[in-house]
Amino acid sequence: MSAEANIPPKIKVADLQKRFGPKVVLDGLDLDVGVGESVVVIGGSGTGKSVLLKCILGLLEPEEGTIEIDGQPVIGLPTADREEINRKFGMLFQGAALFDSLKVWENVAFGLIQGGRSDRTEARDIAYSKLADVGLGTDVGGLWPAELSGGMKKRVALARAIATTPEIIFFDEPTTGLDPIMADVINDLIVKCTRELGATALSITHDMASARKIADRIAMLYKGKIIWQGPTSQIDSSGNEFVDQFIHGRAEGPIRMEVRAP
């Protein structure tokens, strides 16, 4: 057996089940993400992509299944242990989720200061350095989040996600709401930042241009299960009719949108 085969996946999700009342959102989902790998989960709206991320982050408690980070089961951990695991994570939220009451640089430095990794002065210097990494000047650091455009908020959120040098970064719909050019800029930044950090990345999106750019491997989520996964280069020849319909954005096909008649 090779040495590589003995390395546990960075993230291992097995038989994950999550329901809200009678609605089953995740129905026995299995997914592994290797060390340093960038995996993108695609799927239509409401298929449970965000729920999957929130389960891994510990924001939601699944009914059944296991989630392991570096081989350590994380479901049901005590708060202190969970916070320790979360130190490995960086997260870029769909709406950026910047703290309104803090200036931009304080947002970026938040994890460093609260986590006790740096004092305020040092954290401020790191924050400005991370802002520079995502292409934002020093003048932006002193602004309030409400003064930023959508693209700038996403960049600041990315700077915040990478500020603590995380081992794993999650991206929740990183390009939603952005124009195509800004979306491409964000995609480039995601690729650059994750490569520089050597971080493992798990992204969810329904933007195929984004998925093709940032993924080493793509997995498709449908009805609570991963129905196909493979290298990004094989997405166009997957041989899976669900994947084909999704990546070409066709209304006709096996995926039926649940739309009620008026």
């Binding site: 979360n86 910047l98 309104d100 994890g111 609260q114």
Partner: protein
Amino acid sequence: MNIFQPIGKAFLGFLAATGRLSLFAIVSVSHCVRPPIYPRLIGRQMIEIGYYSLPVVGLTTLFSGMVLALQSYTGFARFSAESAVPNVVVLSMTRELGPVLAGLMVAGRIGAAMAAEIGTMRVTEQVDALTTLSTNPHKYLVAPRLIAGLTMLPLLVLVGDIIGVFGGYLISVYKLGFNPAIYIKNTWQYLEFLDVFSGVVKAACFGFIVALMGCYNGYHSRGGAQGVGAATTNAVVSASIMILISNYLITEMFFAK
């Protein structure tokens, strides 16, 4: 349909809500006494609750003291007991009106603001962002507000008591013709430590309730702007009702024979 079914459902819902609130309170209080503590956040909340609420509490207690003097004078004049006006004003202000009015005013001003702020953070995923940054939302958002509410409302009430008594003094001396020295002497003569202390205990309890209900409703808000609006309304209404109920219970505890 069984007529007891909706009653039972409502009762079970009430019990579940009480349980959720109790658990929230226990977890939050435990974070108030465990490090790390955030002095900067506590200080900011203290200024917000104590300093910025002072004008509204001062105005409320001033006019309440004035009305109290006027009303008790017209009432006591029927029994030639006008001299009891200073006692009635000071006892009413310190025991009841000061804490209750300050509590209700702060519930409207601060409880609503807390629910709206934390509720907006919840629906815009800022609360989730705190968790992903290894920061416990209870410790970062709720504990500083509970500590500030618990400590600042007693101070507000003490200031409000003084302003309220001064309002009564103004009306009694300048409108009703009381002798200033005798009014002050009568005010002090019958005032006991317990009168002020019971008001301060009430204020601490009300401050805790206002902060708890503001944070609880904000923390559990759902569904965007409408959810935040509902959380704000619930925070003020539930805090006001709990203030009035706990006011009776604390009064019973201190003064029931």
